[in-house]
Each structure stands twice: as structure tokens, then as C-alpha cells.
């Protein structure tokens, strides 16, 4: 299967390890991976802050670039950016042609773990990792894409790993894009409930499928000199520790 990578700007610039890991796992699963260097951002920050015309501009660009790609599927290591691609049609309520293009593209755009499990039908990618890990359900993956079983299935098949479910796994981490800097105190107050649960779980790493949540959780853990690592599911699935 040919896969067009939608890497997201956050992963591209801040966390390229997630991207290289995703490439490795997809290739191991037999995919031909393609990456169009014209891609930048899906426009989510603008869309979520109310800047629809800016979001529309980036959405059109995104659609044009990925329409030209030869991939059978578009795969992204981010639940919220994938969800944004699924929301593009909302930007074109009055533009039938663009709305259709947006919908056609959304139908073949998948979040990374969902693509592995639901399209490739792979739940064991042959990864190994030593230690206890827990999982954070990123909100847009969970509630917009219904991503819940897939990552857990993939994680439970990693050799050497012990999985711990958080009591508040499905609670928001408080990131929320510009919310995190518009209302930093509320954002961190929400985050601290998550941190409390993570620290209580006594794990080596907390795993999620969104770099933005991991940046929020990891930023607080680092500030508090925690030993717990943050890890994207692609990084975990690329791990070979035994």
C-alpha cells in the first residue's frame, strides 16, 4: 500500500523523531511511504481560534497538494490534525465544489494507529519496550475519530511492556491549542489532574497519539523534574529493546 505522509508542522519542526518512527513502522508493515515537501500545516490553529479565512486558505492548499499525491491513503501521526482534515468541509459550507473535494480527501485520511489496525489489519508490529507505560486519550482522536481500541491493541502487543490504564485516561490534558496560552492557569490546573494520575501510575512512559498533548504533558513533567518520559505511539511501536 502506498501511503502519503501528512507529517504535521509540529512533528516536522519540534518532534521529528515521531515522523522518522512512523516511517519506520509503516515500512516494516509493508507500505511504500511518500512525503510531499510542499506540505506545511492543516490550518487547525486558525480554525480553532476563529480565523476561518486563514484556515480556508491553508485547507485549500492542503487539499490541492494531497490530491496530487499518489498515495492510496493519507496517514498522519496526529489525531487532532487528522480530525482537522475531516472538518475541512465545514469551511466550505457555501462552496459545493470545494466541499466535495474536502470530503473525498477526508475519506482517505487516517490517523496513524487507526490506519495500522483498521486498514492494514495489523495489531502486532513486532516492537519491544521494557517497562510500564500508560496511555492518554487525546480528545480529538477519541471524540472526533473514535480512536480508543486501536492504540490499546497495538500497545498491548509490544513485547516486554506492561500496560497501565489511567483512571482518567479520557480526560482532557488542558492543551486546547491557543487555549493553553490564552488561559494558561486554567490549562495547567486541568493538566495537573492528568499529571497526578500519571505520577500515581508509576510508569516509565506516558504514550499518546498527539504531539500537542505530549508537549503539554511533557512540558509539565519536565518542569517538575519527573522521571516519566512522554512518547508518541509511533516512537513506541518503532522501539526495539530486546
Amino acid at each position: 500500500m502506498r501511503v502519503s505522509l501528512f507529517i504535521t508542522c509540529l512533528v516536522d519542526q519540534l518532534w521529528p523523531e515521531i515522523g522518522t518512527s512512523a516511517v519506520e513502522v509503516l515500512r516494516r508493515a509493508g507500505c511504500e511511504v511518500m512525503f510531499d515537501e510542499r506540505q506545511t500545516c492543516c490550518g487547525q490553529p486558525a480554525f480553532n481560534t476563529g480565523y476561518r479565512s486563514e484556515a480556508r486558505r491553508l485547507a485549500k492548499r492542503f487539499i490541492e497538494i494531497f490530491e496530487e499525491g499518489e498515495g492510496d491513503a493519507i496517514v498522519s501521526p496526529s489525531g487532532s490534525c487528522t480530525a482537522m482534515a475531516h472538518h475541512f468541509h465545514q469551511l466550505f459550507a457555501d462552496d459545493e465544489k470545494w466541499r466535495q473535494r474536502a470530503e473525498t480527501l477526508a475519506a482517505k485520511t487516517y490517523e496513524f494507529s487507526s490506519f495500522l489496525v483498521n486498514v492494514l489489519q495489523v495489531e502486532d508490529v513486532g516492537a519491544s519496550y521494557r517497562g510500564r507505560v500508560t496511555w492518554h486519550d487525546a480528545c480529538h482522536g477519541l471524540r472526533d475519530l473514535n480512536l480508543q481500541r486501536e492504540p490499546r491493541a497495538l500497545i498491548s502487543n509490544v513485547r516486554g511492556l506492561e500496560f497501565i490504564e489511567l483512571p482518567n485516561a479520557d480526560a482532557c490534558c488542558g492543551f486546547g491549542g491557543t487555549f493553553s496560552v490564552k488561559y494558561p492557569e486554567i490549562s495547567v490546573a486541568i493538566l495537573d489532574h492528568k499529571i497526578e494520575a500519571i505520577e500515581g501510575a508509576d510508569v516509565r512512559a506516558v504514550v499518546s497519539a498527539d504531539a500537542s498533548c505530549l508537549m503539554q504533558i511533557g512540558g509539565r513533567l519536565a518542569r517538575q523534574n519527573s522521571k516519566v518520559q512522554v512518547m508518541h505511539i509511533a516512537e513506541l511501536l518503532a522501539s526495539q529493546e530486546s
Binding site: C9, G174, K182
Partner: protein, 490 residues
């Protein structure tokens, strides 16, 4: 007294975050109600199907609201009630005041009602020397404390047992006690007396049934039943969106509302009221008045996107599920309606200029949408309102909206972003410059607390790093690695 406004939401929220008693109370409430709700929704078959039906009923009603309102009014009047139409809060308060004066009512009891909170009826009546007594325990507590509700369903959730004991000692004159049974029996004793003396009772309405002119009030304390049956006059204040077409529709909503609100299968009392008493031997009031209130609702109705806000049945589930509400409680919103649904309704009711912060008071996590019994897409509505703020296209007259302050630096930043991110070379060079600049503030691949100067020239950076480290721009981006090695491997 708390008189916080929506305009100072950020300050209100910061203050609330330092109130550990409030935060403990919120944690208990939202956990308990959240858990109870989860259990309660498993006690009906096909919860999802019920939600779908409820929303379909609401959509149908809202699409023909004029017709159903007329039907409701005609049937209610046929049963002996008198229907009054109020365009706004001032008119609604005026009607209630006039009715009380005509009857020469001086002693007035009230049961819990968000509609009367919305129009600040108590203040209007007090200004005319008619002091209504709130008879719902929580509402009575906050009335004694001269405060406003902080939750749609549990208005006094922000108050601790100790604060209530002190309040009762001061206002009711009992010995200070933390014995809950003694506190509630005191409330019962005082309120019973008020019921016996009352000339008139004022209530809200949960549902108004068009085909019969009946209206329904749900409660757990029995005070609404006394309010609506003991005094000779009963005035019910209801928003025009409370209409449902048929009596059988109640079957759907009675399954949804108590389960979503308090996690109960059914509230302890359900009072169905159709007109006045029929004969002298009947129980119930001689006069029943229904005040049908618009107060901004028809302008919400006229917009295809915001119309769904009127489907809300005021269960409070979205408050309990909201991570923001869970941290700051209701008063910080500075509005009668707090939480996610409050952030949607308030700007539409009171003008977006005065409450432009509220649509942004959400991480867009979607927990509200997940629990809403009538499937209101609250995150989509918040996004819509955010766009109206940015584009300056909020509906209503300039007076209704109030001035919406444009944030020029934010507008500029998003314009720059859309410009640069549309040009891959510019985007890449931007990242390279950031990579160079961050060297001054970076340690171990992370950016720690930004100092005064940095946070002044880049406020978001200061806001982020006040309590969190920031991941730095990586030494080599993914695209560089792709270009150099990754694309060559297979």
C-alpha cells in the same frame, strides 16, 4: 456578594483557582454526578436512540415554534391559565410585578428557576418592596448569602457545610452547628411558615406541552409542588424554547433529563400542571399565569447554526463533564448560565461584546458534546462564535452586541502564519531562524521559564513557560531528514 461579570472572566478564573475549598467541592460534585450519570444511562435501553429522538423532537419543535407556541397558549388558556408574552427581561419582570400588584400579593414564594435568574426577577421585585422567598434549599442558601447560582442544577455547590452553618447562624438566628439534619430541619421549619403565609408562588417550567397546555416541573424537595399549589396565585415563567409538541414526548425527556442532570432515574417529584383548579373543592391555585419569555431566543432561532442552542434542557451535564468548569466553577463565567452551554448561550443572550472571552474558555475537548442528552454540538457552536468575534459578524444590533474589541496582534499573527505557512520555503526559513534564536533561552533541548523581556515581546511564550517547559525546535526537521536520508532508504 459575587458580582463578577463575563468581561473579567480571566481574572475571575484566576481567583477561583486559588480557592481550594471551591476546588474540592467542584471535584466532589463533578466526580459524583459524572459517575452517577454513567451508571444511570445504562438503566435504559438504547440511550443513543433516545438522544436522537429527543433532538429530533426539539428540531421539529424549533422549526415550527410559532405554531406550537400558539397551540400551547390556546390550550393553556382553555384550561383556565392566562398566558402573557414578554419580549425581554424588563417586560417579563414588569408582567410579574403587575400581576402581584393586581392581586395585592405581598408574601411571595419561589421555586428554583433559571429563567427567573436570567431576568433577575428577584432584584426587580425587591426594588418594588416585594421580597420573594426562595424555597429550594440551595437557592434559599444563596439568597440568604446574597449570591447567585454557580451551577444550573445545584446552585449552592460552591458553599461548604461550615459556610452554610455560619450563614444560618447569622441570618436565621440558630446556634452554629455542623449537623446537616439540624440545618435542613431548620430550613424546613422556616420555609414551611413562608408557604403557609404566601399569597403567590412563582416557578419556572421544564417542559410545556403544546397539545394540552400542560407544563411540567421536576424537583426533588417538594418545594415546587407547594409553591405551585398552596398560594391562590401561581405565576410560571418559561422561555419560549421549553415547548414540546405532545404529552407522549415527555416519555423521552423524562428518561433523559434526570439521568443526565443528577444521575437519578427520575426526580422525586414531577408536577404536571394544566390550568387552574376546576371546582371550589379542588386543590390548587385560583389563578395560573404563564409568562412566555423571548429575551433573545428568537434571534438565536433565526440563525441556522446557533438554533440548536435552544434545544438545551438545562440538565447541567455539560458543566459536570467540562474540564474548565471542573476547575473554576460557575461564578467565574459571570453569567447565570455557566459552563460550556453558558459559554454558548450567554454571548447570544447578553451581547457578544460583553462576553467575548467565554467562547474561548474551552479546550474544545468535546466532553460536553458527548454527555449532552439532546446532542448539541457545543464545540461547533463555540467555534462559530469565535469566528463571529474574529470576523465581527455577530448577529444582533450593535447595541445588543456591544463593542467587540479586535485583538490586532492576534489578527496580525494569524495573517502572517497563513502567509508564511502557504510558502514552504518561508516556513522552513522561519523555523531555521527560530532554531537560532532559541539558543539564548534553551537548555537540554527545552525552553524553561521565559524572563520578563522575552515574555513581553512574545506573550504566548511567557504564558506557556510560566508553568511548563517548551519543547525546542529540533536541530534537524523531519523534512531535512527525509531529504537527506529517509527518502533514499526503502
Amino acid at each position: 456578594m459575587n458580582h463578577q461579570t463575563s468581561e473579567t472572566f480571566d481574572q475571575n478564573a484566576r481567583e477561583a483557582l486559588t480557592d481550594s475549598q471551591l476546588r474540592n467541592a467542584l471535584r466532589n460534585l463533578t466526580n459524583t454526578f459524572g459517575e452517577r450519570r454513567k451508571v444511570a444511562i445504562t438503566t435504559v435501553d438504547d440511550w443513543e436512540g433516545l438522544r436522537e429522538r429527543a433532538r429530533a423532537i426539539k428540531d421539529e419543535t424549533l422549526a415550527h415554534l410559532d405554531k406550537y407556541l400558539e397551540e400551547f397558549a390556546n390550550n393553556a388558556e382553555r384550561a383556565g391559565a392566562k398566558v402573557h408574552w414578554a419580549h425581554d427581561a424588563v417586560a417579563a419582570c414588569g408582567i410579574v410585578l403587575q400581576l402581584l400588584r393586581e392581586r395585592e400579593a405581598t408574601r411571595v414564594v419561589k421555586s428554583k428557576s433559571m429563567a427567573t435568574e436570567e431576568i433577575h426577577l428577584n432584584a426587580a421585585l425587591e426594588a418594588a418592596d416585594l421580597s420573594p422567598v426562595e424555597t429550594d434549599l440551595g437557592e434559599w442558601i444563596i439568597q440568604l448569602a446574597d449570591e447567585t447560582p454557580s451551577h444550573i442544577v445545584v446552585p449552592a455547590i460552591h458553599k461548604s457545610k461550615r459556610q452554610i452553618a455560619e450563614l444560618f447562624a447569622e441570618k436565621v438566628g440558630i446556634e452554629p452547628t455542623d449537623d446537616v439534619a439540624l440545618l435542613t430541619s431548620t430550613a424546613r421549619r422556616v420555609l414551611r411558615q413562608r408557604f403557609m403565609e404566601a399569597d403567590a408562588g412563582i416557578s419556572g417550567v421544564n417542559f410545556g406541552v403544546a397539545e394540552t397546555g400542560t407544563f411540567l416541573i421536576l424537583e426533588n424537595e417538594g418545594n415546587a409542588r407547594l409553591t405551585t399549589s398552596l398560594p391562590k396565585m401561581h405565576i410560571a415563567v418559561m422561555g419560549i424554547e421549553k415547548i414540546i409538541p405532545r404529552l407522549t414526548d415527555l416519555d423521552v425527556f423524562l428518561k433523559l433529563l434526570p439521568r443526565s442532570g443528577t444521575g437519578q432515574r427520575l426526580t422525586a417529584y414531577q408536577s404536571l400542571i394544566t390550568g387552574t383548579k376546576r371546582s371550589v373543592d379542588d386543590e390548587g391555585p385560583e389563578e395560573v399565569h404563564i409568562v412566555l419569555m423571548d429575551n433573545g431566543r428568537s434571534s438565536m432561532l433565526s440563525h441556522p447554526v446557533t438554533r440548536q442552542s435552544l434545544a438545551c434542557i438545562r440538565c447541567g451535564a455539560c458543566l459536570n463533564a467540562c474540564p474548565v468548569y471542573q476547575q473554576i466553577g460557575g461564578h467565574a463565567y459571570g453569567s447565570v448560565y455557566p459552563g460550556p452551554i453558558g459559554a454558548v448561550i450567554t454571548p447570544q443572550l447578553s451581547g457578544i461584546g460583553k462576553s467575548a472571552q467565554l467562547p474561548y474558555a474551552s479546550s474544545l475537548c468535546g466532553a460536553c458534546r458527548e454527555v449532552c442528552p439532546v446532542k448539541i454540538d457545543i464545540p461547533a457552536l463555540l467555534l462559530h462564535l469565535r469566528a463571529e468575534i474574529v470576523e465581527g459578524t455577530a448577529s444582533g444590533t450593535a447595541d445588543e452586541r456591544g463593542p467587540v474589541k479586535k485583538k490586532f496582534s492576534e489578527h496580525l499573527a494569524f495573517r502572517l502564519y497563513a502567509f508564511a505557512w502557504s510558502r514552504p520555503k518561508l516556513y522552513e526559513w522561519g523555523a531555521r531562524i527560530a532554531r537560532l534564536m532559541q539558543r539564548t533561552v534553551m537548555r537540554k533541548g527545552r525552553i524553561g521559564k521565559a524572563g520578563g523581556f522575552v515574555s513581553r515581546i512574545a506573550p504566548p511564550l511567557g504564558a506557556w513557560t510560566s508553568a511548563r517547559d517548551l519543547r525546542a525546535v529540533a536541530p534537524r526537521s523531519f523534512r531535512e531528514q527525509w531529504r537527506d536520508e529517509l527518502s533514499k532508504k526503502k
